[in-house]
Amino acid sequence: MDFDLIARSLPQLLSGAGLTLQLVGLSLVIGLALALLVALGRLSTLKPVAALTGAYVFLFRSTPLLVQIFLIYYGLGQFAAVRESFLWPLLREPYWCAVIALALNTAAYTGEIIRGGIRSVPFGQVEAARALGMGGALLYRRIILPQAFRQALPAYGNEVIQMVQATSLASTITLMELTGVARAIASRTFQPVEVFVIAGAIYLALNFVVTQAVRLGERRLGREAAR
């Protein structure tokens, strides 16, 4: 172990971890909002809406994330219409392409998790709410979604951990997040073990924080349920 190398590369690795966190945070927020739409779309009684969201989920779950990132970053720029559109300032930046790809990807997986959560809410709950005169958005906000989220939380925790790892693919489109920094240092120094051990340890620490947060969330939501 070359401790000098570790000390020298630690600041770079930590700044890479900062970018990793940014990518995770942004894509999770956007992805969760999209996922809710996907889940509701999949459960919709309108056939075209259900079919469209179903196709979306199938598309993103049956192809590797790397293809999705490359399609958005390299692929879309092929079309003049895209290059002249108002979206181009976003789509020409690797940063935003990574965020968009990650968000669209996690929305497909999370949508299915939320859909499972919604389906797990007993129908008696809906009946009772309707008997009290609730309907539409209020029924979803007060009765269905809170219980659905509680049910979905453990699975969502796993998805968040998958997302932390998925951000490593942003390094393939020039972003220097944690994996990208580690690779660059390894190819410069040819001492891969030290750098990758540190990078791995940072990922494990991030996972630990996520699992603890999920456990805390479960306990809180469980307490509310018991009341």
């Binding site: 994330l65 790397l66 092929q78 998925a166 393939t172 994996t179 690779r183 073990v193 791995g200």
Partner: protein
């Protein structure tokens, strides 16, 4: 646009097809490594002594906790050194280089094994204790108990999970393109560079992956149905 995908010297169809074949080859070999590693690790977790259990636990926790891409890079930069060092211990003096293929198969296999281990461990634990006790009472020794009682039942419980691990392994092979192995993504990358039509080639790659995952899902469903042919159910 479809001209680009023609076979022969004019188009990229045959290059993409070879890439797809390479993807399948890497996935199958990595999955095989994963199944062996996963079974050994599950056995270590269920029946090993404390240090062996700790080793198995560290393997699954670490590998499932870091990106597959990091494992690939580690093996890419560090694999040759490790193999050279092992070869030197056996008296070989020269430097051993690992091919991109070997790096890809082993790295994806290591990741696959960590996930497979958890699936297999869960499946073995799902076999009712009474089954094992009954086998013991009949005087079966460990190997026979494993072969006749535990494995056939655990395999049925493990199939859906192992199907998921296969899908993940198949998709993870796309990452091996970063070490320039000529699989599907790498071929699409090369073709995009020389034709300036990236959308066409990445879309083609996506469709091939989609076909592969869909076909293997159907395959696993058939296997599951076959494995469950003797099971009575309350519903359906």
């Amino acid at each position: 646009m479809l001209d680009l995908l023609r076979f022969g010297s004019q188009g990229w169809g045959d290059e993409m097809a070879w890439g797809a074949a390479m993807t399948v080859a890497v996935a199958v070999l990595a999955y095989a490594i994963g199944l062996v590693l996963g079974s050994l690790t599950a056995a270590a977790k269920l029946a090993g002594n404390a240090p062996v259990r700790a080793l198995a636990g560290t393997y699954t926790t670490v590998v499932r906790g870091v990106p597959a891409l990091l494992v690939i890079w580690l093996l890419f930069f560090g694999g040759s050194g490790l193999v050279t060092w092992v070869a030197a211990a056996f008296g070989y003096g020269g430097r051993v280089e690992l091919s991109a293929f070997a790096v890809g198969v082993v790295a994806v296999g290591i990741v696959s094994g960590a996930y497979a281990a958890e699936v297999i461990r869960g499946a073995v634990q799902a076999v009712p204790r009474g089954q094992v006790e009954a086998a013991k009472a009949l005087g079966m020794h460990t190997g026979l108990r494993l072969r006749r009682v535990i494995v056939p039942q655990a395999l049925r419980y493990a199939l859906p999970g192992l199907g998921n691990v296969w899908q993940m392994t198949l998709k993870d092979t796309s990452l091996v393109s970063v070490v320039t192995l000529a699989e599907l993504m790498r071929q699409a990358f090369i073709a995009s560079g020389s034709t300036r039509q990236p959308f066409v080639f990445y879309l083609t790659a996506a469709l091939v992956y989609m076909a592969l995952t869909t076909a293997s899902e159907a395959g696993f469903r058939l296997l599951e149905r076959r494995a469950e042919r003797g099971v009575r159910r309350a519903v359906g």
